[in-house]
Each structure stands twice: as structure tokens, then as C-alpha cells.
Symmetry: C2
Amino acid sequence: MTAADWQSELRSRGYRLTPQRQLVLDAVRELGHGTPDEIAGAVRAKAPSVNLSTVYRTLDVLQDVGLITHTHLGHGAPTYHPADESDHVHLVCTACDDIIAVPAEAVDQLVGSLRDLNGFEVDVTHMAMHGRCAGCAGSDESAATDEQERQ
Amino acid sequence: MTAADWQSELRSRGYRLTPQRQLVLDAVRELGHGTPDEIAGAVRAKAPSVNLSTVYRTLDVLQDVGLITHTHLGHGAPTYHPADESDHVHLVCTACDDIIAVPAEAVDQLVGSLRDLNGFEVDVTHMAMHGRCAGCAGSDESAATDEQERQ
DNA sequence: TTTTGTGCAAAGAGTTTGCAGGTTG
DNA sequence: CAACCTGCAAACTCTTTGCACAAAA
């Protein structure tokens, strides 16, 4: 998407073009993915005066316009990323906290069957799926289960 | 599970039996599912002096012992429920906030294919799946997409 | 020049933690 | 009576909001 594109995207929805909005969008694209806090950090590297609350408000605007989206990996802050990024599902290992991205096609069957059975249109990218990765599922079951996990 | 069962479950793990732990477990079973706050409310109906932080600590203990588990429906507080409850996946509609429970068997194929492809053992009950329910997916697409959703 | 956006500070939800005193085994 | 648990208050993370001023159209 070119600069003109996102600018007109904002304008057509009644939003104004501000340097802060450009900076936040740039930061999300630079980082690829990041929490509001990380994004604010990247923005502040260029413009130290930009406030955190502005970052939050701007993320909402950019999301409303459809330029970015967010995913919940767990209990913490969500991660924002450009909306045009290839769709993928996040698998979070509750034992080692590793995050694995798998192409959305891997869960096409699931999406299809939920649509057929319940008419429910799942957005698999919005919430991560939790479980145990290959390494942790194979190794000592009980030890890993004992770990603190508030996710 | 009988009273003796959960008592020995706690004891065998080195935990002590306290009235607070009994009350919290009872509350979770009574409610079927509830947030820490709701559970605290139910507990306080019987014992007003029980502190919220005790409820949090107790939920951790009961979960560690395997008597209860929790599910994340979205951005807010998690919901705790008895561990022996029949497994189901939660579908959360981002348009109308409706929550639909579907049997875990409905996603068996997904679990199987992720295990085969990545060796990843998904716990489908831990995180809800977001999307649009039959009613909302069918009706006015754009209007619903405009809604505020921070989940 | 009207409307929208920003910075700041304060407040809000949800959760954790240090500590002194109380309870369990 | 030793180890553990609880209540309380404070702190912490993440996010939202009211308001006065600044900037965009």
C-alpha cells in the first residue's frame, strides 16, 4: 500500500492526517508486530513527545480504517500488525512460551466445519491457540504442567 | 468428585485445607464458570471477610492441583470452571458479544492436523475463538465491522 | 474558524506482592 | 511450634478518559 493509499483511506473515513498517525503506522510496519508499548517506543525514537494515549487512540483509528489489526497471544498486551500481512495462526506453548506461526490454510478445515455446523465465521488470526509445542509435549509432562501459567 | 477427594488432592500436594479454599471451590462449582471477581462475590455471600487476593491465590492453587481450569474469552478477566466439566470450545461473536459453546469434538480434526504437522498439542479450551455468529455474519457486514472492538 | 487531535494527568480494571498476624498440621 | 495461609494495603500493568490547548481542513 502506497503512502497516498493510506492517506486517502483515513481521509475518506473522516479522519485527519497527522504526523502522529503516520509515525504509528510506520512503526507498526517497521516492527512487523508489536504491543502498544513497543510501538510507542519505536515512535518515540523519532518523536519523543508522542504520548502513549495518543498511540492507543491512533491504533484504534488505524484498525478502524482497516490498515492494521491485532492478535491476542495471551493474558498480556495484544500485538498489532499491518492488516495486509499474510494471515497466520499463532500457537503459543504454555510450557516454554514459544510462539509458532502456522499458515491460516492449516486450519481451513476447522473454519469450514464451524461455518457448516454453526454458521460461525471464525477469525483464526484474532486469538492465539494455546497448547504444548513438540518439544514440551514430548518431554516430562508433569514438570511442565507444574509451571506457573496465567495466560 | 467427593469432598474427601479434593481434600486429599490438596494435602498430597503439600497444600493445607482451609475454609477459604473450600469456599472458593464450592463457589466455582456453584457458578459453573465465573471470573475471579464473580467468584469472590459468591464466596463473600457466605463469608464476607474473604479477601480478593485470597481468591486469586486460591484459584491458582486449585488450578495447580487440577481441580479447576480457566478460559480466556477475550480481553477481560478469565473465567474459571471445574476441571471435570465436559470440554468445549467457546466461540465469541465480535459483533454481538454472544458466546457459543461447541463440543471439543467439533475441532478434533484441527487438533489432529496440528499434531501431525507441527507436533503441537492444542488445548482448544484455553482460549476462545473469535469471529461472527450466524446472525451477525449474515446481516449487514459493514455496519458490524464498524463497531468498536477491543478484544 | 470550526472540528478534530494531542498531551497531560488522573482514574479505571485486573492482578500481584510484602508483610504482620492468624491458622493448620 | 514451624510452616503455611490470610487480610490488608500498596503497587503494578495495561488501558481509558476529561480537559485545555494545538493543529488540520
